[in-house]
């Protein structure tokens, strides 16, 4: 069964076309891992979540069209991240206004700024956090994010606007104007 799942021959109308599970895994592992990592900010947890996503893909591989795999992976990765947090109560939802400012101040520096932004994004409540990750890691437009997360486009846009405003304010206060 594993061999079959991992070596599907290309046939007309085949749902997975010529891709094998291994090909899909190889091509998408960084994407899935990164979504989990930027959401959870914990490598081990991200690896655990990413592995669960791919195992779920493996179980359902024959029923997913090749052109839908990326969408499916993003969707399942997003859901799994939320489930992970809720199950473990790792990150209680924090109102945006209560998100603390970065503790280290100093001259703007790319690496430092990146870390601060990563930390700030990770401190957002779950849904806005996911929206930000899908927008800026995956470069998805609001309507695409809305489809992945199954929410109205206007809700996605609202999350983006509020999160960006908060980030700008907090980064601006601690590190000076973003250039």
């Amino acid at each position: 069964m594993l061999a079959a799942a991992m070596a599907v021959e290309s046939e007309p109308g085949a749902k997975t076309n010529a891709s094998t599970f291994t090909d899909v895994l190889r091509a998408n592992q960084s994407m899935v891992f990164s979504i989990a990592y930027h959401f959870l900010r914990d490598r081990a947890a991200a690896e655990e979540v990413a592995q669960e996503v791919f195992l779920q893909l493996y179980r359902n591989f024959d029923g997913i069209r090749r052109e839908q795999v990326t969408f499916w992976l993003r969707k399942v990765a997003s859901n799994r991240c939320i489930d992970y947090v809720r199950k473990r109560k790792v990150h209680a939802a924090v109102p945006l206004d209560d998100v603390p400012e970065p503790s280290v101040s100093g001259q703007p520096d790319d690496l430092l700024l990146n870390r601060k932004l990563q930390a700030l994004v990770a401190s957002l409540p779950e849904t806005p956090r996911l929206v930000m990750v899908l927008r800026y890691q995956e470069d998805l437009m609001p309507d695409e994010i809305a489809r992945v997360l199954e929410m109205p486009v206007r809700t996605v846009k609202s999350h983006l606007q509020r999160s960006l405003a908060m980030l700008r304010e907090k980064i601006g206060r601690s590190m000076g104007e973003i250039r």
């Binding site: 690896e47 179980r59 890691q137 700008r168």
Partner: protein, 117 residues
Amino acid sequence: MDDLERQLDLECHLKDALTRKQAPDWFEAKVLAAAARETSAPAGFWQRLMAGARLRWASAVLASAAVLASGLAWQHERAVRERTEGEAAKAQLQLALKVTRVKLRKIGQKLDQMERN
């Protein structure tokens, strides 16, 4: 810098900050090993055979056929089971070799670095 420019700058920085990270070295091997373990043997051949059996006549023929079928079924099941276990073993081996290579490579790099210093 006006608001739009600041917005675009922040978005640019966010893309940079949230750029994709490489999955861990042996992530692929671990997933494949886990997937191989999940693969389970199919439902017994006998169950499928008996569920469809309706014939009452020629019991001797049926008995002979059953003996022959059981032999074939056993072989088939064994082949399927072996394939499943073999793929799982292969995945485990690949994982072990990957871990080995990564660690040895890191040691080599560390040695090179020290020699350069």
